[in-house]
Assembly symmetry: C2
Homo-oligomer: 162 residues x 2
């Protein structure tokens, strides 16, 4: 298993991971009807870099890193992580998050921010807390969950250097 | 004085308001070197709608409204407001913010969020508080102010309906 930068060709295997997660509408602020070309832009083109977790030629998980804001906010990065259902429970989200923090520091970022963690996504909230992220904000009823309705979203933040 | 939707031609008068504010780097998360074409995209093209405050054919101030997040976050809007230096102290920011809340409700938005209010921007913080916005998050050292250095940024939020 290795984590490496994604190539253009990898999207063939990234889309089957991305699409059901976006279409479910439970965790990411992407339109549920996001199509393949929009998904490619969002995950591969707009971010600063995209990575994949690969094992025996198979892509198990993927993440992106980008500036969270421009200009006076460009020292803080944002990441998104997705794991294929078949690869869950193997610690890949943890591995990717730790990898991304190192990449962030290498790219000169000083902090990492998650803008919109649905409180219903309890596994993610616990994981980010365990990895040192602090809940610095709570957005009331900001996340429209397909079955839970309007739920709060958290802003989570970690300072990465000195 | 009236508030009306901006036309394409209005950018001629919007740019001289936008440019010094972006270039100062003290309040907006825009690159300080944002050029005219990028500014036009950011203020006129990417938002859902853009408005101007006009008096005797002169544009004194401007604001945009857009979804703050896509998909499960698309019921929360975000706005940005800019006032020409010559028109400050006349309550135009208040007038625009109140106007934008009404537009937001008309467009079907349920809440309004400001993502990145520098704590150094004390006038804005006080104003949004007075207009009913609550500080729901504080991002440590997330705003790189040109003279104050790394300062905290606030996330401010107001529920608009029921």
């Amino acid at each position: 298993m290795k984590i490496r930068e994604a190539t253009v060709a990898d999207f063939e295997q990234i889309w089957p991971i991305f699409h059901p997660i976006a279409a479910a509408g439970e965790t990411y602020a992407y339109p549920r009807e996001t199509d393949r070309e929009q998904g490619r832009k969002l995950w591969m083109e707009l971010p600063r870099k995209t990575f994949v977790v690969e094992e025996d030629g198979e892509i198990l998980a993927t993440y992106y890193i980008k500036s969270n804001q421009s200009g006076p906010g460009s020292h803080v990065c944002n990441c998104g992580y997705m794991v294929a259902p078949s690869a869950r429970g193997r610690g890949l989200a943890t591995a990717m998050c730790e990898h991304s923090q190192q990449v962030a520091v290498e790219l000169g970022f000083k902090a990492m921010q998650f803008n919109f963690v649905a409180t219903t996504n309890e596994g993610a909230v616990r994981l980010w807390q365990r990895l040192g992220f602090e809940t610095v904000g709570r957005l009331p009823k900001a996340f429209n969950h397909p079955t839970e309705g309007l739920v709060d979203a958290l802003v989570m933040y970690k300072w990465l250097s000195g």
